[in-house]
Symmetry: C2
Subunit: 401 residues, 2 copies
């Protein structure tokens, strides 16, 4: 069973020129399944992500998550010799990922046509705030702007409160995984459909999160419906909300099945509510959602989170505790599935990271290595394209690597 | 250039047995690039998604988005003859997608081993609330529960308010695209790495959204940090918030670059604030974020959304209007990129849907067709596996299709 010890993306070579969160994530997701990723960083400064968020003893932490399994080399693309080296590397590369402002790569003489001249099979994944063309294409792109313009913020939060932005790089994350899917589609076209040619992929940061809001698109188009904020309720089903427990924690109840309400009423010992015209069916419950939530809240407020979850679960209500990151670490099931695993790290001793998903039976992914220190793989990578120790020293001196 | 008129996933055959939102989305994303998707629905009732959300003249609207480009057949898997027909279809299939409660498929005699017996090359994508194994695996799975247990709700919203759930099927959407990526990785392993074998993929609804929160994982592991809710601020950079305009609209400002604050101060004509010790660098601004937001809010509250965006943009601040779905439809740039396009629909005349992403230069995706009516492709699909008109009538009579 020779093939089976292989990783799914073994031998797939990626150059990751990107920063901010979306585009580098594409390479991370692919490294998880065995792709060979070379992260290109600016000499001395390194990737700006190294400066993001929290640090421990000067070691950046978000960097650990997003750069796991990658190799790091330094290279200044603004210098002539830097460009030459990149083109040399591109010859042996399947995928190049970049997220410079549209036109930047071209201004350096590294347009897709130039890259395709040295390697016609190269897949070029371009991520940007607003895409490679269109009136806003030269505007800077950030996840927050995508979250604002997609309609996410407008519909998230409470009717009497402000629009709500996510507290994580959500627009970036969704773009990262959409981009990884796109790259795989292009690889399939090249290698299986025998196109034998690379191509250019154009993905704007606002597009993936907007795609997931497509339910609103059809509703507006067909009914003129402009959905606003409905807090933790949903416009489709009731009950659905977050309820506070006596120990100051919260639980969430999902009402996506018609029998949810019946089960909830049984669980709180108030089956008679089924005969109440306000709660007799989903349409009625939506109209009287406030009344219904008041009844549920009152019951929940007299139980601990653990009790409430247990009781609702025994009645097969779709219920869940609202978890902090600490709860995530301590959850029995998450531990059984190794949702979070520890890997060795030169810099931190050991570091906990989210495990590879999905789980695959024949070619399971794995985290190859901890995030690299700056330029850790200069020797390894540059020697493969024929550079000598002397040449490397020279390049360092000139600030090219 | 024969190959170039081909779609990237042309000839890839998918059976979509799934419902709820995550798993069917996997097939939708792949149909966008040319995969041939057969959606299997319960006779008469059809997919429960047909009952979700809004309708126009009895035509379900969310269904239009999630079932575009698919064929619909009816088939009752609970009946012996139904199982036989499924196994017949599986012989000619590359990918089977399912999201039954773990163990359900097995209880019907349709376990992966049985499917692999008739087609060893089959890729089986299994989506479930909590995965195929682990103590919670038999619990029901809904997006809301994933959003609650991943830490999303705990960190979204305001410090003095409740945890905030998203107003869209977010956990489902992220799972859908992660699943599509996983399927492509498995296809690559099978067809390019010459494994020549299918495999089983196991994806739990809580895993993908938790993966995007991985920054919190590392911070907790290394520093014991339990991040709570910080409203529209971010713990990493300031300013970042949503601000209300004089016309009752909102704008968002992203502070992910160090120069943002300088540009904001210039835009609001208060450059002197740079000398204020409270705002001199990002660390100081984070500490005095409330003061800073007050100053920005005051300025924004005197301008319309349009004015505020224009002025901030002229100073290169990362700013965006907070859009409703109506604004999305009217945006100049989105229109130029055809972010939303109209396609013909038998049932609705025409329907607006979110366009295929990413944009690919050589093998662009396209929406093949509008969502199908129930059983629309019974004739086409079943005749291909050799059934006659008589046999089809018989199957309908017996309630098998």
């Amino acid at each position: 069973m020779e093939g089976i010890s292989k990783q799914a993306l073994e031998g797939v070579k990626i150059i990751d020129l990107a920063t901010a969160a979306a585009a580098p994530w594409i390479a991370t997701f692919m490294a998880d399944f065995g792709a060979d990723v070379i992260k290109v960083e600016k000499p001395k400064e390194g990737d700006p992500i190294r400066g993001w968020g929290e640090q421990r003893d000067g070691i950046p932490l978000f960097w650990q998550a997003i750069s796991r399994g990658k190799k790091s080399i330094t290279l200044d693309l603004r210098k002539e010799k830097g460009k030459e080296l990149l083109l040399e590397l591109v010859k042996e590369t399947d995928i190049l990922i970049e997220n410079f402002r549209p036109g930047k790569l071209e201004s350096w003489g590294l347009a897709p046509e130039v890259l395709h001249e040295v390697n016609p099979r190269l897949i070029i994944m371009r991520v940007s705030g607003f895409g490679q063309y269109g009136p806003y294409s030269s505007k800077p792109g950030f996840g927050t702007l995508a979250e604002a313009m997609s309609g996410f913020a407008y519909t998230t939060g409470f009717p009497d409160g402000p629009p709500t932005l996510p507290a994580l790089p959500l627009g970036d994350g969704i773009t990262g995984i959409f981009g990884a899917f796109g790259v795989m589609v292009a690889l399939y076209a090249r290698d299986v459909q025998k196109m034998d040619k690379g191509q250019v992929l154009d993905l704007a940061l606002y597009e993936p999160i907007l795609r997931l809001l497509e339910g609103n698109t059809v509703d507006f188009d067909q009914l003129g419906l402009i959905r606003g904020r409905s807090g933790n309720r949903l416009p489709q089903t009731s009950p659905r909300n977050a309820y506070k427990t006596v120990d100051g924690e919260w639980i969430a109840i999902s009402g996506s099945t018609p029998s949810t309400a019946i089960r909830v009423f049984k669980a709180i010992g108030q089956e008679h509510l089924l005969n109440d015209p306000r709660f007799k069916d989903n349409r009625a419950r939506l109209k009287y959602a406030e009344d219904l939530d008041k009844i549920i809240s009152e019951w929940v407020s007299q139980h601990t989170q653990k009790e409430a979850v247990q009781i609702f679960e025994s009645f097969e209500v779709a219920v869940a505790p609202i978890y902090s990151v600490k709860d995530v670490f301590e959850d029995l099931h998450f531990n059984a599935r190794e949702t979070i695993i520890k890997i060795p790290s030169e810099e931190l001793g050991e570091v906990a990271l989210n495990n590879v998903i999905p789980k695959m039976s024949l070619t399971p992914g794995k985290i190859k290595s901890a995030a690299p220190s700056l330029g850790k793989h200069n020797q390894e990578v540059y020697k493969k394209i024929g550079l000598t120790d002397e040449q490397l020293s020279q390049l360092i001196e000139e600030g090219i690597i």
